[in-house]
Amino acid sequence: MSEPLPDRGWLLVLAVGTALMAALPFVANDYLVGTGLTLLMWVALAQSWCVLSRLTGYVSLGHVVFYGLGAYLVVVTWQLVPLPLAILGAGLLAALFALAVGLPVLRVKGPYFVILTFGLAELVKYSIMAIESASGIASRILFGTPDLVRVYFAMFALAAAAILLLSWVSRSRFGHGLRSLRENELAAETLGVPVVRYKLLAFVLSAAIPGMVGAVMALRSTYFVVGQVFDPMISITVIAMAILGGGDNAKGPLLGVIFLTALSELLWAQAPLLYMIILGLVLVVFVLLVPDGLLGMFERRHSPTAARIGPSQ
């Protein structure tokens, strides 16, 4: 089901949310700002992931590779290159990487693609580890990183960009082309959809923002460990948030991010193992019983017509 115009409810929510998040650093303590930063990070990552994986159905389990590449660039050029340049460069690097490997990678389909993207992320991770240790580097520490508020607003910009990107793609002809190849790639091709070009474009678009996100987050933890920056859990969490959220437009993943971040905030501090178990339960319950995600639930309640026709899967 296509949406030619953004509905007013959604715009209102976005406006309020934006105002809240923009005001946060001025009213809240550092810990809450940190939480807000984490939320914005996941928004940026989840939205950009959906540009490829929700619209085309090519589920990528290797989203973290862009994140890691971006972080690595910043760390390597630390204090050699002005920071804004490094961050933009990180996005560029990730996009170029996607461009370079996109064509062969996107020839692979289904579960093969899922595990391939995972393997690709791990390959890049271990390659960088080998390069680092071959150059004799034991660890990388960044001294003198910008303060929390600057990092926060950088991430704010990235999250906004990601939402705009996914919204635009989702409504555009490009996006509909992507959806058509999700339904049946062969048929779409016969109908004249430039399938290969579209897939590649979606892949490259989905890479740039995570690259910059990784770059910004590198400033947050100051201690750079390759294994932790290329953490597969990041890829998995992104997928979980998108699926819990449901839908293939910008609304769904946003819901998923907010839901999981809220759940995490309630629990990670008090009972981390229990939090993980509840997270697991949430995943299982949602996959089995709430397949359209939170967005599906929401739409069913508020627009029964849409529910009968079926939410835009």
Partner: protein, 399 residues
């Protein structure tokens, strides 16, 4: 249709309710009187099996302090309560946790997490809030670059000192040739970076130098070559995870050089249980503590730990943790919770600990020497340097 919609909604709200209940159950009781001490510890994730030695030590200390009526805060005794969070083996989580502890939970005192990356990650946080923190299980030359002010490191196992001391130790035993195997994780990689130039300077021949990733599952190729090199000493710069693998495969392949050094792992009680007492016998590792009559409280600490946990403390990490607690205790007893006074005292005074005297110059502990211990008849003995030795080095007689 309606019932399944309802049940779906109620299921989701049910999950949230469950989460909220768990959160409420775990929330600390509001009380002014207990002294709240906060820290993060990796309870899940990659490092989860390395942290118990430190957490146990903290718990033992809390038990002892509370049995005495509480911690001495400027003359007033207050019962100690811990506020612990799991950093999931992620330094950036530790940053958030310490921000939370300071600004949200508003704890009275802080203790250190486990591991170098975590100490370095939280250094800017304690600096920003001017909250003194005595570090322990951190060792990196980059520690010296941390701005001195609100964090100190009790450890003496800094990689460049290790390079120098280990080389001296090897020379004293007449070692002429070595094999160096290094895990690429920061600490061991750093040791390798400093060790190899020292070995070359001392004229010791490095017949083989090999690196491996932390998740290695099979060392056959590497160890076959090591065996063929037939050297006097094999220096396995390993972490706890691969230390056991190394010992088992060295045994299988018969890598029988008389001097066997494993950087981290053997100081933990887990090691001899995992590889067997015979294999553990004679292994040399990094630690600068053992119960010694000259060090007040060292035997008492050892006995108390064994009594409570049924196994030996980690001679490196548990000792460091205890030392940091002793220093904090002394500073708080004298200055109460005045952070500036605590900071001034820790920066300038000399403290008595279970490891002898400790004094900080900048962030570093300048008194405790870099030392090595060896498993002898099931117990770890300090074998280098002679000034604090509790035993004499014996070559290892096979695995």
């Amino acid at each position: 249709m309606k019932s399944s919609r309802m049940s779906r909604r109620s299921l989701v709200s049910g999950l949230f309710a469950l989460a909220a209940m768990v959160a409420a159950a775990g929330a600390p009781a509001q009380a002014d009187k207990p002294l709240r001490i906060g820290f993060s510890m990796a309870r899940t994730g990659m490092l989860a099996n390395a942290t118990p030695s430190q957490l146990n030590t903290y718990e033992l200390w809390k038990e002892q302090v509370n049995a005495r009526g509480g911690m001495n805060v400027g003359g007033v005794k207050r019962k100690v309560e811990f506020v612990i969070y799991d950093d999931q083996s992620k330094p950036e989580q530790a940053v958030r946790i310490y921000e939370k502890l300071i600004t949200d939970d508003k704890v009275d005192l802080l203790l250190a997490p486990w591991g170098t990356p975590f100490h370095i990650a939280i250094a800017p946080v304690v600096e920003k809030y001017k909250f003194p923190l005595v570090g322990n299980t951190a060792a990196s030359v980059s520690l010296r670059e941390v701005k001195p002010g609100y964090i100190w490191f009790t450890t003496s196992a800094i990689p460049d000192r290790i390079g120098v001391e280990l080389t001296a130790f090897l020379k004293a035993q007449g070692v002429k040739s070595v094999v160096v195997l290094a895990n690429v994780l920061p600490f061991t990689k750093e040791i390798k970076n400093f060790l190899e130039p020292e070995l070359k300077k001392a004229g010791i021949d490095i017949k083989l130098s090999s690196e491996y990733p932390p998740d290695i599952k099979d060392m056959t190729a590497m160890l076959t070559q090591a065996k063929q090199a037939n050297v006097d000493a094999v220096l396995a710069l390993a972490y706890p995870g691969d230390s056991v693998l190394y010992a088992k495969q060295a045994k299988e392949l018969g890598v029988n050089s008389p001097f066997q050094f494993i950087a981290i792992g053997p100081s933990d009680a887990f090691f001899p249980k995992a590889v067997g007492a015979a294999s553990a016998e004679g292994v040399v590792t990094i630690a600068h503590w053992a119960p010694r009559p000259e060090w007040k409280g060292s035997q008492a600490f050892y006995d108390a730990y064994v009594k409570k946990f049924g196994e030996d403390p980690d001679f490196l990490n548990s000792a460091l943790a205890w030392m940091s607690l002793e220093i904090l205790e002394a500073a708080v007893a004298k200055n109460g919770l005045n952070k500036e006074k605590i900071r001034a005292m820790i920066s300038t005074e000399t403290f008595e600990t279970i490891n002898g005297k400790v004094k900080f110059n900048g962030v570093q502990n300048v008194i405790t020497p870099t030392a090595f211990v060896q498993y002898q008849k099931g117990r770890l003995q300090i074998v280098w340097p002679a000034s604090i030795a509790t035993g004499r080095y014996e070559p290892k007689k096979g695995w």
